[in-house]
Symmetry: C2
C-alpha cells in the first residue's frame, strides 16, 4: 500500500522558508521587500580565497570532483583543529572532528546519533526553531527551559535543575543565541557543565555564531566538560557560504565516529568543493582580517538597527544582542499575535521578519529582526515601517 | 544519561569506505594499489562548464553563496525537466523534481518519506549495498528478490508476485544495476509496473547510471506507472562530480513535497555551487558531446576488462554489463569466501575490489570490478593479478 511514513509528520515547512515563498510571490509581483528575516550574510568570502578556488577549476583532473572521506578531508579537519586552538585555546585533534553538509546536517546527524525514543531533551525557550522538529522526529520529549528578557535571556541553573533527571539525554544551548543574540554567562555555563557531570547528560552546544561577537566572550563548553560536550558548527556565517553547505561537529571520539556514520548514510560525504574552499580560507592570511572586518560591518549595522528600534518602536522591549545576527524585540505593549502582525508587515509594508512564535511558546508578540542582510539605510527604513505598521494596528 | 540511539546500530561503515581505509594505509606505506573498487569517474566535467563557474567566483556578491530554495533553484529543476524530456521523452514538470545533496541524500530522504516501521520492501539480490542499511534504519522488513546470473540478473515477475502483498510498501529496482550492470528488460519492467498498480506499492527506481549505457535502452518506470514511481538520481556519474554532492528525486507531486521537507531537515538546501554548475552543464552544448565521449571511453575500458577476465580468470562466470561502471564476476569455481579473498587481493596483490557479500546473500564468492576509474593498462594488470591470486589459493 503506497503512502507515507507517519514520522515525517514532524517535518513542517521551516518558518523562514514559508517567508521565502511569500517573498518570492511579492518579487514576482515586482514588489520590493526589505529582508529583515534571514540570517544570510552580506559580505562574500575573501576575494583571494575565491580566486584560489577558480584556479583549481582549471586543472584537468578528478582531484577536485571525487568523493572525500565521509569524515571530511584531513587537511580541513587539521585546519579546523588549528582554528579552534586560535579562537578558544581548545585542543581538539582532527579525529575528534567530523565535517558535515552544513549546520543543519550537523544537527540532524548529532540528534540521530544520541536521541532515543522517549529521551528527555532540554531546550531553551526562546531558541533556534530548527531543534524542536528534529527532536520530535527522533522521538524526544522536549523540556522547555524558559529564559526571560528581564534576565537577558540567561538560563537560570536552578530552573534547569528542576528539569533534569534520570531520563535527560541532552541539554541544547545555542550561544551566541538565535534569535536573542544572548551570549551565555561564564557562571551559567559553569553551572550547566557541573549539572551535566552530575546527571551525566550531553551538552549540545550550538556554536554557529561563535565568531560573530560584538561584546563579551564566547564560552566553550568543551573546556568545561569535554567528555559531555558535542558541538555543532557551521561555515554558513563565517566565511559566508550558507548555500555551499558545510559545517562540523566536534566532541568525544566515539560520538564523532557515530555522527560520521550517520552522515555517511545521509549524504555519503560533505561537499568536496566547499571543503577545499574552507581549508584554504582557514589557513589563509585573510582569515583573521576577514572576520574582524565582517564583525565591524555587522556591529555597525546592529547599532543602526538598535537606534532605529529605540526611535521608531519606543515601547519595544529587547536585550541588545552581544553576538549573532539578530535582535529579538518583544512587541507585547503593541500587539498580541506576532505571526499575524508579521504577515501584515510583509504583505502591506514590504518588510520580512520572523515572528516570535517560531522560537518561543511565550514570546509570541515578538519579532526576530536580522541586521546583517540589508544595507543600513534599508535596515533603518524597515524598522521605521515596523513602527508605522504598529501605529496602524 | 549519555549514550547513543539504538537505531544508529543499523549504520555500519560502508564497504567501499572500509576498503578506502585499507587503501589509505597502503598508500601511507607507499604501496601502489589498483583501484577496481570504486565507482569514481575518470573524466572530469567539461572544461567550458568549469571555466564558466570560475568566472562566477570573480563576482563580488552573495549571489553564488547564499541559501537556495530547499527544493533546488528553479533554473536547475527546469534544466532537469528538459533533460528528462530529451533523454527519455518524459514529461516531468519542475515542481515534480526535488534536488538533493547527492544520490545518497535522495535515497535517505525518499525512504524517510515512504517507509513506516514494519513495512515490507522488496529489493533485488544482488543489488547496491546502500539500500539495506537505510531500510533497516527506517524499520522496514527487507524481502530479497533473488536474481540469477543464468537469467542475466533479470528479476522474475512470477517470483516477485510471491513476495508482494498487503504489507508491501515499495519495490526497489536499480537499473542499470550496481553491481551487475544489468539493464531491466522492458517486459520485466512492464510486469513490475502492472503489479505496482494491482498491489498499490511504490516503485523506487534508482536511475543513477541511466546515461551510462553500452547496449540496449534504459526503461523509465515513470512512463509505465507515473503515479507509482519515485525515481532516485545523481550527478555523481554524469557530469562526474561525486564529491560535490548533487542528485534529484522525481515523482508524484505529493511525494516530492515530502522529500523536500525531509531534505530541509537533513541539509536545509542542496549545495548551491553544484546546482549552478549542473544548471550550466545540462543546458550547455557540451552536455550531449561530453556524455557520448564518456560512454565511449567507458565502453572501451569495459571491453578491455571483459577480455582480461576471459583471459586471466577463464572459469569466472559473469554477465557482460550493458550499463553502469561494473562487472560482477562469480568466482565460485575458484573460491568460497569473496570477502576473505578480496582482503588478500588488496593486501598481497595491491588490487582493490568489492566482495559479492556486500551486494548479495547468495553470490558470496563474487567480486565487483569497476572498469572506469583506472587506465586500461592498469585495469588489465589488476585483473591479471586477480587471476594470479586465484591460482595461488
Amino acid at each position: 500500500m503506497r503512502g507515507f511514513s507517519s514520522r515525517v509528520a514532524a517535518f513542517r515547512e521551516s518558518p523562514t522558508r514559508k517567508i521565502d515563498e511569500l517573498r518570492e510571490r511579492l518579487r514576482r509581483e515586482n514588489r520590493d521587500v526589505i529582508l529583515l528575516s534571514t540570517g544570510q550574510p552580506s559580505v562574500p568570502p575573501p576575494r583571494e580565497v575565491r580566486e584560489a578556488l577558480g584556479e583549481l577549476l582549471k586543472v584537468d583532473s578528478m582531484d577536485l570532483y571525487g568523493y572525500t572521506p565521509s569524515q571530511g578531508i584531513y587537511e580541513l579537519r587539521a585546519a579546523i583543529s588549528e582554528d579552534l586552538k586560535k579562537l578558544g585555546g581548545l585542543d581538539v585533534p582532527p579525529d575528534q572532528i567530523v565535517v558535515t553538509a552544513g549546520g543543519q546536517a550537523a544537527m540532524f546527524s548529532t540528534l540521530a546519533t544520541v536521541v532515543e525514543q522517549g529521551d528527555e531533551v532540554v531546550v531553551t525557550d526562546p531558541t533556534y526553531f530548527g531543534y524542536r522538529p528534529l527532536l520530535e522526529y527522533f522521538g524526544a520529549v522536549v523540556k522547555p527551559l524558559r529564559t526571560r528578557i528581564e534576565e537577558g535571556f540567561q538560563p537560570d541553573p536552578e530552573r534547569l535543575k528542576t528539569l533534569v533527571g534520570r531520563k535527560t539525554k541532552a541539554v541544547v544551548l545555542v550561544s551566541p543565541d538565535n534569535p536573542t543574540g544572548r551570549i551565555l554567562n561564564r557562571e551559567v555555563a559553569k553551572a550547566v557543565a557541573d549539572l551535566a557531570q552530575d546527571y551525566d547528560f550531553w551538552i549540545i552546544t550550538d556554536e554557529a555564531y561563535k565568531t560573530l561577537i560584538y561584546e563579551g566572550e564566547h564560552v566553550y563548553f568543551y573546556k568545561l566538560a569535554p567528555e559531555h560536550t558535542i558541538s555543532i558548527n557551521t561555515f554558513s556565517k563565517d566565511p559566508a557560504i550558507p548555500g555551499w553547505r558545510l559545517g562540523y561537529v566536534y566532541g568525544p571520539k566515539d560520538v564523532v565516529q557515530k555522527v560520521k556514520l550517520a552522515n555517511e548514510e545521509m549524504v555519503y560525504c560533505p561537499p568536496s568543493f566547499a571543503q577545499r574552499m574552507v581549508a584554504i580560507y582557514l589557513r589563509s592570511e585573510a582569515r583573521t582580517r576577514y572576520i574582524r572586518e565582517v564583525v565591524e560591518v555587522y556591529r555597525h549595522k546592529r547599532d543602526v538597527a538598535l537606534a532605529a528600534v529605540k526611535r521608531y518602536i519606543p515601547e519595544a522591549k529587547f536585550v541588545p544582542p552581544s553576538g549573532s545576527m539578530f535582535i529579538f524585540v518583544d512587541l507585547s505593549r503593541y500587539i498580541v499575535d506576532g505571526e499575524e502582525f508579521a504577515k501584515v508587515l510583509l504583505e502591506k509594508h514590504g518588510v520580512a521578519t520572523v515572528p516570535g512564535s517560531y522560537f518561543s511558546e511565550v514570546y509570541k508578540a515578538a519579532l526576530r529582526i536580522s541586521f546583517v542582510t540589508e544595507t543600513t539605510e534599508r535596515i533603518e527604513e524597515g524598522i521605521r515601517r515596523i513602527g508605522e505598521a504598529l501605529s496602524a494596528t
